[in-house]
């Protein structure tokens, strides 16, 4: 299960983050994408903690269609990943800052900047880069021994990084940490989802991915019996 679960998060990371043309083609190839969809559906459906094995009896359960978790439009979008060119074009319009249609997937922009003592006068604001979450991610990545490419180094709380960390923790066998991290670091996606929705149909693919993450988060919360409030960032 670990490998399949990790793959889901690596793939979502590649969708939101930088990827070379070759990497993206490999990621979005029919076979790889099909496996991603299968693994994703299991993750949404299976009542188990991340990477945990499913009870034998649960294997008998019928696979639920994506339609149980996503809208029809989202399902259609999820089954048709963008070409590299389309992915680049979307990023050029929506993953760049300062435009009306910007939907930069950086957690800092959707949470309070800081609640630390002696912070700047605008500390209580939302909509600012480099919030406490970014500082936390800097520290966490350093502690886990990860390095980011230049393009992401200033936004360690980018969704692509957060997904990659979940995947890496799973690969390392740190399943509890992965689960805890996922629950903590995806609460902001409810707000981000609203931003993506404003873009319209062009964003359906990414909206579907966000809904996948929110669905997985809900399942993990249910599995760990920890309330959302306790994990709210």
């Amino acid at each position: 299960m670990t490998a399949h679960d990790a793959q889901v998060f690596f793939t979502i990371s590649s969708c939101f983050g930088p990827a070379s043309e070759d990497d993206w083609k490999a990621c979005a190839s029919n076979a790889a994408w099909s496996e991603f969809l299968t693994a994703t559906r299991r993750l949404l459906q299976d009542e188990r903690p991340l990477s945990a094995a499913l009870a034998p009896i649960a294997h008998a359960r019928t696979s639920e269609p994506f339609g149980e978790f996503l809208s029809d439009d989202e399902v259609r979008a999820l089954y048709a990943p963008p070409s590299f060119k389309e992915k680049q074009a979307f990023a050029a319009r929506h993953f760049t800052g300062g435009l009306p249609t910007s939907a930069v997937p950086v957690e800092s922009l959707y949470v309070k900047w800081s609640d630390r003592a002696n912070a700047a006068p605008f500390a209580q604001r939302e909509g600012l880069y480099r919030s406490d979450v970014a500082l936390y991610m800097d520290d966490l990545l350093a502690a886990l021994g990860f390095e980011l490419p230049d393009v992401l180094v200033a936004t360690p709380d980018h969704l692509a990084v957060e997904c990659a960390v979940v995947a890496a923790l799973l690969e390392d066998g740190s399943n509890d940490h992965a689960r805890s991290f996922l629950i903590e670091r995806t609460a902001w996606l409810e707000t981000y989802r609203a931003r993506l929705r404003r873009i319209g149909d062009d964003a359906l693919f990414y909206l579907a991915l966000v809904d996948v993450l929110l669905g997985v988060r809900a399942m993990q919360l249910a599995c760990t019996s920890v309330s959302d409030d306790e994990h709210a960032a």
Binding site: F10, C27, V104, A119, P121, R125, G127, F146, E147, G173
Partner: protein, 731 residues
């Protein structure tokens, strides 16, 4: 794992430490991390000195960071503009570094009018190709640069244009202090002077409010002067926030300040109460002006200004009684700067009135601040490109305009004429603020090449084909800034935080790379640090020293009070008459010149002006500052209480404001703090760029109501030469 799965970690690489780490070791959850940092907050570190960018004053401050983020800023005591204090907009504006609305990548306008990110190399290559085509077909004078002066911006933009062979580098002057600088230059050969407010017995302010268009040091001086018993008179259609330190408000009809000055001059000259000795020794053309103001009686001026004749007479007497420790303060953007058809002539008359007082150079009077500049750089790598032979476009049409600023609006108007083909903007929201936005946008959109460099999307960026993302002022080191004052200084804007967005670039880098792409890179073979250090070395200083101190004073150049007997004019004298003005169609000495428009029945003159917490359109998108706007309803227009009562309008009513160019609705602030013929609309609001999420569609924009026109001779934008009607919505 499946054979198809991504078997690597994508962009997430293991560091050397990480490769040896035990799985999951080092993991800390967010709540635990927060708790740990609450117990042990990061150390407050001095990050260096910088210069504020919330307005053009560029006050010096020391930045402190915690965990690499800006934590606080303390004004530098030696900086002559801030005097150890930053203003509210300075503190508020700092959040721009982290703003969601920051531009993060180079942008190119697409076929549908929207923008999409492109890479820097593509942007440079496409821009350079268009530059070359324009130069090949029309020559370098078909290229124009408009910039709001900042230390590096001023240097690099002018050098870039000069390297291309164009003389057309403009500032924001037309919408700021162009007419003041130009008018004063005709009279005293200098574009600026300073009233010694701190030591004066009396100062008259005409349309300038130190407490609204803040330089903290100016406000400190006003406070000290007030506490020492000085009489400060505020001549302004509005009872502005500087009234806290004023002893008298003279509510004048806007655009008529020239008549007030002429009448006060009339009083002094006819009564023989002026410094005849100073005038005889240091001026030319006095008799001409004396004859011209002979008919400008206080009674005549009362009809024009609305200020009672006895008040005018009394103020003239009081100014003389306080002389030479008295002066009329120079103003800036309003009456003398760019507001009216007579702004340039008002500035000229203002200098001449001060000359009657004999106040120049004396303690408590008015002085031209001493300054220091870098010496000539001898290293060949700094050699400047040849100066273009052509004159800046607009110099011939507006012969009195200061060439150091240039008439940018006229230059843009030459785009449809085919004389200008390409335009660059650096940190200039020209379209929203220099004249009528619809007209200016049309000009820019008609250009073959249009490039804007800024930190956030503006109306100007929106009109351009390419938008290049600048670093914010906290993220870059700039060329040293030399500032005049009682004690002149050099100060530094140094980088105090790391770049928030890796794909943004500082102005020095952008123009160096753009120059390379355009084939003139040989003039940019140095870093900004090398340039700054070389400039400072000519004064026996170093960049390292300036980095350490932030501001270095030149006490040997400090102001020494003494009658000023040498002026910047050709013959070193004050000129009551000007041949250049005569050639431009003005009288030799300044006489009465009516504003372009005067309100008739049911009409008002629309006036603008800064509020304490904002700078033009630049700060409106800062949430902390806009929150103050909304809390106090600062976006409302002001209307005189008696007029409002007669029109059945009450405080807070929604009203429709109309001019010949625009109609919009907003709420009204009914107040006795404005004279009856004026409507005040703060000049910060009405942002039409949805990218500025905080500022978008809050209030009305003053310039929408102003037609595209230019002050004859001087080139100012005549921002208050517009009439509006007001009616209650639903009435």
């Amino acid at each position: 794992m499946s054979e198809h799965a991504i078997t690597r970690r994508g962009f997430l690489a293991r560091s050397a430490i990480g490769a040896a780490a035990v799985a999951g070791a080092g993991y800390v959850g967010f709540e635990a991390w927060k708790q740990a940092h609450a117990d042990e907050p990061g150390e407050l570190k001095k990050a260096g000195h910088s210069l504020c960018n919330s307005c053009s004053s560029k006050c010096g401050f020391t930045a402190y960071t915690r965990d690499g983020r800006l934590a606080t800023m303390i004004g530098d005591a030696d900086h002559p503009y801030c005097d150890g204090t930053l203003c509210a907009r300075g503190y508020g504006y700092a959040s721009i570094a982290y703003s969601e609305d920051r531009l993060t990548d180079p942008l190119k306008k697409q076929g549908d009018g929207t923008f999409a990110a492109i890479d820097w190399d593509t942007a440079y290559a496409e821009i350079a190709e268009k530059v070359q085509k324009i130069i090949d077909e029309d020559g370098p004078q078909a290229l124009v640069m408009i910039q709001d002066p900042r230390p590096s911006g001023s240097f690099y933009t002018a050098r870039f244009m000069q390297a291309l062979g164009s003389a057309n580098t403009y500032t924001h002057g037309v919408a700021c202090n162009m007419s003041k600088v130009s008018g004063m230059t005709q009279a005293i050969g200098a574009g600026d002077f300073t009233s010694d407010v701190e030591n004066a017995k009396m100062v008259m302010f005409i349309g300038r409010s130190y407490a609204d268009g803040i330089r903290p040091a100016s406000l400190h001086a006003m406070q000290k002067g007030y506490q020492k018993g000085a009489k400060f008179v505020m001549v302004d259609p509005r009872y502005n926030n500087s009234m806290h330190f004023c002893t008298e408000w003279v509510p004048i009809r806007p655009g008529t300040d020239l008549a007030l000055i002429l009448a006060m001059a009339h009083v002094l000259i006819t009564e023989g109460t002026y410094d005849a000795e100073y005038i005889a020794a240091n001026t030319v053309g006095f008799e001409d002006w004396a004859a011209r103001v002979e008919s400008c009686t206080p009674e005549w001026a009362e009809e024009i200004t609305g200020v009672p004749a006895e008040t005018i007479e009394r103020l003239a007497h009081e100014m003389w009684e306080a002389a030479p420790q008295s002066s009329i303060e120079q103003g800036w953007r309003a009456a003398t700067g760019c507001a009216h058809q007579n702004s340039g002539e008002t500035a000229r008359a203002l200098c001449l009135f001060n000359t009657l007082l004999g106040c120049w150079g004396l303690e408590g009077g008015a002085y031209t601040p001493p300054s220091q500049s870098a010496g000539k750089l001898t290293d060949p790598k700094f050699a400047a490109p040849a100066k273009p032979e052509a004159k800046i476009i607009g110099a011939a049409e507006y012969p009195l305009s200061a060439s150091s600023m240039g008439v940018s609006t006229y230059a843009l108007s030459q785009i449809p004429e085919g004389a200008v083909k390409g335009v660059f903007f650096y940190q200039s929201n020209c379209v929203a603020g220099y004249s009528n936005p619809v007209q200016l946008a049309e000009f820019v959109e008609a250009a073959e090449l249009s490039v804007a460099i800024d930190v956030q999307m503006t109306e100007t960026c929106q009109a351009c084909q390419y938008v290049l993302p600048d670093t914010c002022y906290l993220e870059r080191t700039e060329v040293p800034e030399f500032v005049g004052g009682k004690v002149p200084v050099v100060s530094l804007r140094d980088q105090v935080i790391e770049k928030v967005h890796p794909n943004t670039r500082p102005v020095d880098q952008i123009f160096t790379e753009l120059a390379e792409a355009c084939g003139v890179g040989q003039y940019f073979q140095f870093t900004v640090e090398e340039l700054g250090d070389a400039q400072l070395q000519t004064l026996g200083l170093s960049l390292e020293q300036l980095r350490e101190q932030g501001t270095i004073t030149f006490p040997e150049k400090a102001l020494k009070y003494a009658p000023k007997t040498t002026w910047g004019t050709a013959d070193k004298k004050v000129h009551f008459t000007s041949e250049a003005c005569e050639k431009a169609g003005f009288p030799a000495s300044p006489g009465w010149l009516e504003p372009q428009v005067m309100p008739g029945d049911g009409q008002f003159r629309l006036i603008g002006g800064k509020q304490t917490i904002h700078t033009h359109t630049q700060t409106a998108n800062i949430p902390n500052l806009m929150e103050i706007t909304k809390k106090y309803g600062l976006e409302r227009i002001w209307m005189n209480a008696q007029v409002a009562e007669e029109m059945g309008i009450q405080d807070g009513d929604e009203v429709e404001v109309s001019s010949e160019t625009y109609t919009g609705t907003t709420r009204v602030h009914v107040t006795n703090r404005i004279e009856p013929t004026s409507i005040y609309l703060p000049s910060h609001y009405g942002c039409s760029v949805p990218e500025q999420r905080t500022a978008y569609q809050v209030g009305l924009r003053q310039m929408d109501f102003v037609p595209f026109h230019i002050e004859p001779g001087y080139g100012g934008t005549m921002s208050q030469e517009t009439l509006v009607t007001v009616k209650k919505v639903g009435a």
